[in-house]
């Protein structure tokens, strides 16, 4: 790669622009502040990795974009989501449905439960084709066979009338991808698509997505907690913690010089293949933040080795470090000193 991904991304048009998205869940016992002002953008053909531990708000953010959360209890309090020229928040349900599946495809984690067990995979692939593209039964069937071939399912014509339980986990995930790609979406949101698969199948799915991206050129948001997968796949990475973006950087820059203590801690937890003795797996001490109130201070401060007084009283904004690398931290990890306000 001669041209940096960042330069490539900025050269292309922005397909998705999210500004200050806030999502809460109202329960009888109180309110859960799941997403607390997330902003990011996605360029055409770009692959954005979103990492963070469970409960960091990465899935909820992406589900909020497409209003796929059960509402109530979920509620999108504020923000703006622009897909192309169109604002998606506050759009009418019918248009929203046309966007879902039509312009934005989804892949989910659990391949066993994400497909409806009582319908054939062919039916499930044909459904969006008929609803969004208005294809006839025959045309939809032909297209479904093409899609299944595209995602690498062997003898697709025969397998069209099989049920999900007759497929293996990896093949079911391919079916999910075929459904997500059926209407040629501009954006594909993959919510931990490889987490439920074993490592060899994971690698196959990652390869498949890479090649599909080269062929079809859609933008992809890849949610995962596997930093290894993101390293080999993404152009840019968002690191989320406590419903906030804590670091945002081109992939090389993020792995070369992680700026947020949380990102560093995450990278340290990765087991390495190149060390002699593995030793014990590292973990990040402490508990994920309790989100029963909107964060007033840095949510990572209680677990942070670098935390100082300001971290406990004020929530840091994203500081731009240049080269598209942003970090939300009061501590300048390179200088070993508190960051001066920009």
């Amino acid at each position: 790669m001669n041209v940096s991904p960042q330069a490539q991304a900025s050269a292309k048009a922005t397909v998705l622009e999210v500004r200050d998205l806030r999502t809460i869940f109202r329960f009888r016992g109180g309110t859960l502040w799941a997403v607390n002002g997330v902003s990011f953008s996605l360029a055409a053909g770009e692959l954005l990795g979103v990492v963070g531990e469970s409960g960091s708000g990465k899935s909820v953010t992406m589900m909020s974009l497409m209003k796929l959360l059960p509402m109530p209890p979920a509620e999108i309090v504020s923000g703006s989501v622009r897909l192309g020229e169109r604002e998606l928040l506050g759009i009418d349900p019918k248009t929203m449905r046309e966007v879902r599946g039509g312009e934005v495809g989804f892949i989910f984690q659990d391949t066993m439960t994400a497909l409806n067990p009582v319908f054939t995979v062919g039916y499930q692939i044909m459904e969006p084709l008929r609803a969004h593209l208005g294809l006839s039964r025959k045309a939809a069937r032909a297209r479904a066979v093409e899609l299944m071939a595209l995602v690498g399912i062997p003898s697709p014509a025969e397998r069209l009338d099989d049920y999900p339980h007759q497929f293996s986990g990896g093949m079911r995930q391919r079916v999910m991808i075929a459904i997500a790609l059926s209407c040629d979406p501009k954006v594909l949101i993959a919510d931990e698509p490889t987490t439920a698969l074993d490592v060899t199948i994971q690698a196959q799915i990652v390869e498949l997505v890479k090649s599909l991206r080269r062929e079809l050129g859609m933008a992809i948001i890849w949610i995962t907690h596997d930093l290894g997968v993101v390293a080999g796949l993404a152009d840019r990475v968002l690191v989320m913690y406590g419903g906030l973006v804590v670091e945002h950087a081109p992939v090389d820059s993020l792995y070369a010089r992680p700026q947020h203590p949380y990102t560093r801690a995450l990278l340290e937890t990765l087991p390495r293949a190149d060390t002699e003795k593995a030793g014990r797996l590292k973990s990040i001490g402490g508990q994920p933040p309790n989100l029963l109130a909107p964060p007033q201070s840095c949510p990572f401060a209680p677990r942070c080795a670098y935390a100082f007084s300001r971290c406990h009283s004020e929530n840091p904004p994203l500081f731009a470090l240049g080269g598209g690398h942003d970090v939300a931290c009061w501590w300048d990890i390179d200088q070993g000193a508190p960051r001066r306000d920009a």
Binding site: L68, F106, A114, P117, P128, A131
Partner: protein
């Protein structure tokens, strides 16, 4: 599927034989005397002769085998004869299962009584299902709404208040106080014109309502629980993510999955249509199968009770099998091999 069905059918034979033996033995062991209701002026020797003529002089096993033979061979042959109008073997020599009290063949009694039970109780069950399914679906979709809360309350009442209470309540309100509906079911009523049709509707209204409420209470709870379970499934989110309309999500994706257990419950409940509505039949004086069974028990008509009870057992075994097969048809993950 076919092999599975055949195997299940073959397995049903020993099951039914065991059930028939238990029913026969239990009722035979019960202390009773078929001559006890006869006038006391009849001398003991005559009573003994009556008992012998009823076949009670034979050992237990012989009586059991004879009953079994009549049930499985003679009566089916008679039914075939009357159905197709043909003569199989010597029909006049064939021993039939007879009631001790009326001396008429039991099968004839059942054929007389079954239509009332099937129309009233069957309609009650059908009404129950037709009310229950939409209520269950709406309650699940609008969970904890007013509709759901009221549905829960009504179901709880319908489920916990016995039919003899709701039946009497309806009779007091609509027959005694308002005088709108007859409290006694008239079996001799023939539907020939509009007037007799409305009369038939009127006399069916209360028993059908009582049974409908009771069955609807049960089935709507099942439907609601099943829908709720499926609403939480990931494939629902997938369907929404594909941009399917709520209508398609509910009535295609969720409903199809939710119906699997409910259809099984409905199929398993069908034998109750024949046997379980005994009390309702008593209250409204419908001379159906339930009423036949009760009168048989009261007059110690052992062969009648044995035969009816065993027919209920056959129905239960049959509908269990039907429920299993339906399950296999509705759920592609189930393959009976």
């Amino acid at each position: 599927m076919l092999r599975y069905t055949l195997r299940r059918l073959l397995l049903a034979i020993p099951t039914l034989l065991v059930i028939s033996f238990v029913i026969f033995a239990l009722l035979d062991l019960a202390p009773n005397d078929p001559t006890a209701n006869l006038p006391t002026t009849i001398p003991p020797e005559v009573r003994e002769q009556i008992r012998l003529s009823l076949g009670l002089g034979e050992p237990f096993l012989i009586r059991y085998l004879k009953w079994l033979y009549q049930f499985f061979v003679n009566e089916p042959l008679n039914l075939l004869q009357s159905a197709f109008g043909i003569e199989i073997g010597d029909a006049s020599e064939r021993l039939r299962l007879r009631s001790w009290t009326t001396r008429s063949p039991i099968v004839d009694l059942i054929v007389e009584r079954a239509p009332q039970t099937l129309t009233v109780v069957g309609l009650g069950y059908l009404t129950g299902i037709l009310i229950a399914l939409p209520i269950g679906i709406i309650s699940a979709y609008r969970k904890y709404s007013w509709f759901d809360q009221i549905g829960t309350l009504v179901s709880m009442i319908g489920f916990s208040v016995p039919t003899f209470f709701t039946g009497l309540l309806l009779i007091i309100i609509f027959s005694v106080n308002l005088n709108w509906l007859p409290s006694i079911y008239d079996t001799s009523l023939r539907v020939t014109d509009w007037g007799s049709f409305t009369a038939q509707l009127k006399q069916m209204a209360m028993p059908v309502a009582v049974l409908g409420l009771y069955n609807a209470a049960q089935i709507s709870r099942f439907m609601r629980a099943s829908m709720l379970e499926n609403f939480g499934q990931d494939y629902v989110r997938t369907a929404r993510a594909k941009g399917m309309s709520e209508h398609v999500v509910i009535f295609v994706h969720v409903l199809r999955n939710s119906l699997i257990p409910v259809v099984t419950v409905i199929a398993l409940g069908v034998p109750q249509v024949f046997g379980g509505a005994i009390i309702t039949e008593q209250i409204f004086r419908i001379n159906g199968l339930g009423e036949l069974l009760i009168s048989g028990i009261q007059s110690a008509d052992i062969p009648l009770v044995q035969t009816l009870t065993f027919i209920f057992a056959v129905l239960i075994v049959t509908f269990n099998l039907i429920a299993d097969i339906l399950y296999g048809i509705l759920d592609p993950r189930i393959r009976y091999e």
